[in-house]
């Protein structure tokens, strides 16, 4: 990949049309690879500002809202605020995001320039993120009506903004109060914004992730398939060195709340929760254990923090993760949480904006119900398989042997049944049917050893019949069939959780407060509500992993990394 300098990037971006700028908002774009976090901030901010010079396309909205919801970089927050002003249709659902951004950034307010790349403001000229956010509120006009109380509290009272912002706040209130006929239906994001949550249908035939080895917080290893098959799962991504407390630290804290919700509904042993680190080289098991503990995570066989020592690339590809790296360290990532079905296939995705714990639990329960309603795959019992194998092994070679067998039973009249040579191939077919059912079972449990044993047993039996081998060979075939059939009935072995080592600090979860958001936060409620309203109209979409052509006007439902025409590298 040819590496662009920042100067070259800046010039390159300025000449791109919006359709080609959109892919540059994806964290996973190769142009961001091997760059420091601050560099990525500058680059992304510049892309956003370039988009803001024309009309902001729908597809860019999730990125803009994301930076308002959880951004802590003054430049990016200011750029997002400005970009939102260029969206053609103001919407009342934007207002809570803007207020949230003011709350996030006000104590990191600093002077910057949105006219120059990087935003470094030297001297007195420039703007600030708070100023930009207030300007955005002004531009929303009466669409900001739902957040009048928040604006008032920024204007006066103990949490008021600095006096220098008072005139702008007056302007905001004035603009809200004009055009009072405008629709003030809060919390309905534009229909086109669907990338915050999606149902996903898994692609066929993709199981390469199943064998990816994971290690949990206690050092136990297991494959992706072993952990995620059998129950629906909630999977988040994070890393312990994340420096944005609104992302990873909060994600894990909220995952702990999801665990509490599941427990309160009696579903903790029916739904897995997991968080996988982007940074397995640094996030060793003890680090995962402590990180989770410090955020209220309850550990159990169904609830783990995981690392993939050699599997980051596989995970990245499978989930199409919104992340990029400088060497092994994350330089930028989105908030992303996935719902997997009982086969470990991706069924749903929450991205970018803070997700609501209740909503996530409701979605995974839907998946759980779907799994329950699905007809169960019938698996032949080991008794049947072994009986068939035994029958085949002992089937007589000739009519005289047949009579001898029947007379052994001593049942009156049985000896009159003529020699039935057709029984042997029937038994063989039944044996192969048993083999097929064992194969399905092995596929679903991801344990192939039973299948291999039964296969070898069946081949041994068939060979012994066709090659007239000694009876011990047949009996070996029966034995292998028996052992394989029995093994296939056992569930995967899930190791027990162990207690915290070392410090002796006990998992005193009972005394941990239920760290839910203060129920009086209307802004958060509004943001969640906006997402929920969007989810109601979301349709099923193809699983991420298929590439689409980038199209600024397409109502694409899944964020997919897209090859940029004229870009200098392939997408991961």
């Amino acid at each position: 990949m040819v590496e662009l300098t920042e100067q070259e990037f800046c010039e390159h971006v300025e000449h791109l049309p919006p359709a080609q700028l959109l892919p540059l908002l994806h964290e996973s774009n190769p142009l961001y690879a091997q760059r420091g976090a601050a560099t990525v901030v500058r680059m992304r901010g510049w892309v956003m500002l370039t988009l803001a010079r024309t009309t902001l396309p729908d597809a860019a909205l999730p990125f803009v809202l994301e930076d308002l919801d959880t951004g802590v970089d003054p430049y990016l927050v200011a750029a997002a605020a400005r970009a939102l002003r260029s969206y053609p249709t103001p919407n009342s659902a934007f207002a809570p995001f803007v207020v949230r951004a003011i709350s996030n950034i006000r104590y990191r307010d600093e002077r910057l320039s949105l006219e120059t790349y990087g935003g470094f403001a030297i001297g007195t000229k420039g703007t600030t993120p708070v100023r930009e956010l207030l300007a955005t509120l002004t531009s929303l006009g009466s669409h900001a009506r739902p957040i009048i109380p928040e604006v008032e509290s920024l204007r006066t009272g103990p949490s008021a903004l600095a006096k220098k912002y008072q005139p702008i706040l007056e302007e905001v209130l004035k603009s809200i109060q004009t055009h009072s006929e405008t629709n003030t239906d809060c919390c309905q994001l534009p229909d086109s914004v669907k990338d915050l949550f999606s149902w996903m249908r898994p692609a066929r035939g993709s199981s390469s992730i199943d064998s990816t080895v994971l290690e949990d917080q206690n050092g136990n290893t297991l494959t992706f398939g072993e952990y995620f098959y059998g129950r629906p799962s909630i999977v988040a991504f994070f890393y312990t060195r994340c420096d944005n407390p609104l992302k990873c630290s909060l994600t894990i804290t909220k995952l702990a709340r999801i665990q509490k919700l599941l427990e309160s509904e009696g579903l903790a042993d029916q739904i897995n929760t997991a968080a996988i680190t982007y940074d397995p080289g640094f996030d060793l098991p003890e680090r995962l254990l402590n990180y989770g503990h410090h955020r209220g995570i309850r550990f159990a066989p169904e609830h783990r923090l995981l690392r993939a020592p050699d599997g980051v690339d596989a995970l990245r590809k499978h989930f199409q993760l919104g992340v990029n790296f400088i060497e092994s360290l994350v330089n930028r990532h989105r908030i992303e949480l996935y719902i997997l079905d009982a086969k470990g296939q991706t069924a749903g995705y929450f991205g970018r904006i803070q997700w609501n714990e209740r909503e996530v639990v409701d979605r995974v329960i839907e998946v759980l119900k779907k799994n329950r309603d699905r007809p169960k795959l019938r698996v032949a019992s080991p008794v049947f398989g072994t009986a068939v194998a035994l029958g085949l092994a002992l089937f007589p070679k000739c009519p005289f042997c047949w009579a001898a067998y029947l007379s052994l039973f001593g049942i009156a009249g049985v000896e009159t049944i003529p020699y039935s040579p057709w029984l042997q191939p029937v038994l063989a077919i039944l044996l192969l049917s048993n083999l097929a059912s064992i194969w399905f079972r092995a596929r679903t449990t991801h344990r192939m050893l039973p299948f291999y044993l039964v296969t070898f047993g069946a081949l041994t039996l068939i060979a012994s019949k066709t090659l007239s081998a000694p009876s011990t060979v047949s009996l070996l075939g029966v034995l292998l069939t028996l052992v394989g059939s029995l093994l296939s009935t056992f569930k995967p072995n899930l190791d027990r959780v162990s207690t915290v080592r070392g410090s002796g600090w006990v998992n005193d979860q009972d005394s941990y407060p239920s760290a839910t958001a203060d129920g009086t936060d209307p802004v958060q409620a509004a943001i969640y509500s906006a997402r929920s309203a969007t989810i109601g109209s979301t349709r099923v979409a193809r699983r991420a992993g298929r590439r689409h052509a980038s199209n600024a006007t397409t109502n694409s439902t899944i964020e997919t990394p897209v090859k940029v025409r004229g870009s200098v590298g392939e997408m991961p």
Partner: protein
């Protein structure tokens, strides 16, 4: 403790503090601080005396920033103004309205001709993970003609943010250090880099390496590969020819962070440490004693 005298209980009287000037209000102190007719010493003292006076109003803030920016002002007064303003930043809620102007001024001072002022300003901004400063520091490491501070200081400042893209240049400096301090700071910066574990191991075991380098390597290896560090620490302790300092570091690490089960069963190690308890070296003796008090004997 370096003194041989045992400290007595109770409140021992320490060296008395210097007598202050007569009590004056923060406003009065600020007036002195910004009064160019007063002596440098008086002005500097006055600035440091009343940090909150610098943000009492927009006017006092601007006056403070004017002094800070003005290269014609005595450097001691400018440094005092900086110290006072930075002290005021701790009063976060009160400082909020002034942050914009303060940090904009700091950026201007990144190129100030006074090295001490420059260093302090860079430190403040680096601790805010400021992208501008990171970029300038990296440029200075790659091209010494653009360096704002010596390489060891630049590396130290970059180490505040693991996300600064400093690992590649730190590795280069580690391989070809311009001076021992730069090597040491490069190693410290890399201490969270799992990829550098082989380097930590090599430096830790190299008896020709500087003691500080080996000590930092020990801490770094312990962080990224704790099991491997434990094995190395064990070998260091079993080595009769190893330096006392390094053995003391290894003992301290095992005593504090060792895998209790593994160490407790390692009879060879326990016997060795027991022997070390009779060492002539006070450091070894002390660490060995602590170690053995944890592991049973």
């Amino acid at each position: 403790m370096t003194t041989s005298k045992t400290k007595k209980r109770g409140t021992k009287k320490s060296k008395p503090a210097k007598k202050s000037s007569a009590k004056r209000s923060p406003g009065a102190a600020f007036a002195v601080a910004t009064n160019e007719k007063k002596s440098t010493a008086e002005r500097a003292k006055a600035f440091v005396e009343a940090p909150l006076a610098t943000i009492a109003s927009d006017d006092t803030l601007q006056a403070s920033l004017d002094v800070l920016r003005d290269r014609q002002q005595p450097i001691k007064v400018r440094l005092a103004a900086l110290q006072s303003l930075q002290a005021a930043t701790f009063s976060v809620i009160e400082f909020e309205p002034h942050r914009e102007d303060y940090f904009a001024t700091l950026r201007e001072l990144v190129d100030d001709p006074d090295e001490e002022l420059r260093q302090r300003v860079l430190g403040i901004l680096a601790r805010e993970n400021d992208g501008y400063v990171q970029k300038r520091l990296l440029e200075g490491l790659q091209d010494p003609s653009k360096a704002l501070v010596p390489p060891e200081k630049a590396l130290q400042l970059l180490s505040y943010d693991v996300h600064a893209e400093a690992y590649p240049v730190a590795r280069e400096i580690l391989n070809a250090p311009p001076n021992p301090e730069a090597k040491r700071e490069a190693l410290r910066l890399l201490s969270a880099d799992a990829k550098s574990a082989p380097v930590f191991e090599k430096l830790l075991r190299d008896k020709d390496e500087d003691r500080d380098i080996r000590q930092i390597s020990a801490a770094a290896l312990q962080s990224v590969k704790p099991k491997r560090f434990q094995e190395q620490a064990r070998e260091l302790l079993l080595d009769d020819n190893e330096y006392d300092d390094i053995q003391a570091t290894a003992l301290t690490a095992l005593e504090q962070f060792g895998d209790e089960k593994a160490v407790g069963k390692d009879q060879q190690l326990l016997n060795r440490v027991d022997e070390l308890g009779s060492s002539k070296s006070a450091k070894i003796k002390k660490s060995a004693k602590r170690f053995m008090s944890r592991y049973g004997k």
